[in-house]
């Protein structure tokens, strides 16, 4: 069996959570990790559950191993509780191994990474690059920051559970989602609001808002690990984003369901500008298309092919229906240069 290690990247953005090398898969919503196998994209996911994880010994002020384990259990249960997904987790015990050692055990703990002064936490994945099966996923929380496990959060300290919920999203195979708004703040960006826990930038210290999954996250985990009638009960919208008749890579497409208020996002993921948003509640949706300009593009895609930014954000002038258990059929959204 051939194995390859996905490396970690750390970009200079304020309170950046995690960036993983992700080969986008031109098939579905959110951003699922994928690997190219014989010219085709294979989704990266765990083939067996429960996913066993170990908690590293050692802690930070206020968060010892037992507190970390308890908080992680809560964060894992948040994903496990999604009724339309079938992913489960199991605490396997404490270990003196460090996260990122590639020992076949998924290890979660604190590491001091002072050079990564804008990285709160990071997830590294060990993947079978033939099958796409996830073999190991390690998460480290950067102990150069101040951390808290207080039930309601703590001013000046980052909430372990909030960040863990995000990292566990990566652990199960989800990339970043772009449903969020930011503004330039100093040398970085500040998050104004987001509607996904998988937004690449974290809220400021003290916030516990993102302990809760949103529609985009639920669609993502359910798409990766569908349970029950999820596929039969939800629909997808697919299409192309074009400019002057040519496909655009990296356009951010968000579907809004006025009936439910749900926002679920995706990207155009190939040179044809094709996108697909799965896991949608059946019904009519508004489509909003925008350049990927609210976070560093490297937190979503590899540099090649280049992501297109030179177009104006638009709403599609048709309501697009996500059918129950089926796809909308391709719609073409033409955008204009800036």
């Amino acid at each position: 069996m051939s194995r390859s290690r996905f490396g970690r990247l750390h970009a200079a953005a304020a309170a950046l959570l995690v960036i993983l090398v992700a080969v986008p898969r031109p098939a579905h919503a959110y951003l699922k990790f994928g690997v190219a196998v014989n010219g085709r994209q294979v989704t990266v996911k765990w083939n067996q559950t429960p996913i066993r994880y170990y908690v590293a010994e050692g802690g930070v002020p206020g968060v010892g191993p037992p507190q970390l384990a308890a908080t992680l259990a809560q964060a894992f249960s948040t994903w496990q509780a999604v009724p339309t997904a079938s992913v489960s987790f199991e605490f396997a015990g404490y270990t003196n191994a460090r996260p990122g050692e590639g020992d076949g055990r998924s290890t979660i703990g604190f590491l001091a990474e002072p050079d990564l002064d804008r990285v709160l936490a990071s997830t590294s994945l060990l993947i079978d690059d033939v099958t796409g099966e996830l073999l190991e996923a390690d998460i480290f929380f950067n102990s150069v920051f101040s951390w808290s496990v207080a039930p309601s959060g703590e001013a000046g300290r980052f909430d372990v559970e909030t960040i863990a919920v995000h990292e566990i999203g990566h652990l199960i195979g989800l990339g970043h989602s772009a449903i969020g708004e930011t503004e330039v703040s100093g040398s970085g960006r500040r998050v104004i609001a987001a509607e996904t826990v998988m937004f690449p930038l974290a809220f400021g210290s003290g916030s516990v808002t993102n302990r809760r999954l949103r529609a985009d996250d639920i669609a993502g985990v359910s798409d990766l690990y569908p349970d029950g009638a999820f596929e039969a009960d939800t629909g997808s919208i697919s299409g192309r984003v074009t400019r002057n008749g040519e496909g655009l890579f990296g356009a951010h497409v968000v579907a809004f369901n006025p009936a439910t208020g749900a926002l679920v996002g995706a990207f155009s993921l190939n040179a044809h500008g094709e996108f697909s948003i799965a896991g949608l509640t059946p019904g009519a949706h508004v489509l909003r298309i925008e350049p990927l300009d609210d976070a560093d593009v490297e937190s979503f895609f590899e540099p090649d092919p280049p992501v297109e930014f030179d177009f104006r954000a638009v709403f599609f002038n048709q309501l697009v229906v996500a059918p129950r258990g089926a796809d909308s059929g391709s719609v073409e959204v033409a955008v204009q240069p800036k």
Binding site: E181, A193, E195, V286, L319, V321, P323
Partner: protein, 226 residues
């Protein structure tokens, strides 16, 4: 006067034996009625919804706003009526209309120009109704007013025929019927026109909730009585 005699008087009025005696002739002879016509139904407001993100504090941040309506539509309608009594008739009808579901998108946080996104909706309505002629209140010799009430369902087929919603529909209405010709001994005993106004109540379907919504409707039809 007690309530019971008053109710009895009302029933007699609707069923009409006394009224029949007071009128010179039956303006709507025949037991069966076939009709074809059209019906305009006003738009239904489905309501406003904001695309909300969550702030660090947990508060809401509006990305954009929407306001959705089912536009007014004109339906083609076929109807079968059966006379139960001299002034009371039951009816079954089927109607088809094409309408637009429209969502006005506005107030985008990044200044995207407002747009109205729409899709077409094919609507098939199947209804039953009870109709009572107000024979005593005839307008002239031949124009017969009536009141009606009924209900049924509407199958709403979204664009691309990929999704069906089903709405409940109920109505109360009133109108007039005017026989253009009556031939009591012939197979077709009467030909006439009917016009009516309704208050239509819709529940569910393509709407975003199961709240009852009311729209006006106007109808006209040509009928044959057999």
């Amino acid at each position: 006067m007690s309530r019971r005699p008053a109710l009895g008087a009302l029933l007699l009025f609707l069923l009409g034996p006394a009224a029949a005696a007071a009128q010179p002739s039956d303006p709507l002879p025949g037991r069966l009625e076939l009709a074809l016509g059209g019906r305009w139904t006003g738009g239904l407001a489905f309501g406003e919804a904001e695309a909300l993100e969550t702030r660090a504090s947990g508060g809401s941040f509006a990305l954009f706003a929407t306001d959705t309506e089912l536009a007014a539509s004109t339906a083609a309608e076929a109807r079968l009526g059966v006379r139960l009594f001299r002034t009371v008739q039951i009816e079954a009808s089927a109607a088809y209309a094409s309408s637009d579901l429209r969502t006005r998108v506005s107030s985008d946080v990044e200044g995207i120009p407002d747009v109205t996104a729409s899709e077409s909706l094919m609507q098939f309505a199947f209804e039953g109704a009870l109709l009572a002629h107000l024979d005593r209140w005839r307008l002239g010799r031949r124009t017969v007013p009536f009141v009606s009430a009924g209900g049924g369902f509407v199958r709403q087929l979204h664009e691309g025929r990929t999704l069906v919603d089903v709405a409940g529909t109920y109505h109360v209405g009133a109108g007039v019927r005017y026989p253009l010709a009556t031939r009591g001994a012939a197979r077709v005993k009467a030909i006439g026109v009917r016009a009516e106004v309704r208050a239509v109540v819709r529940i569910g379907g393509a709407a975003f909730d199961n709240r009852a919504r009311v729209a006006p409707a106007l109808g006209a039809s040509l009928f044959l009585r057999l």
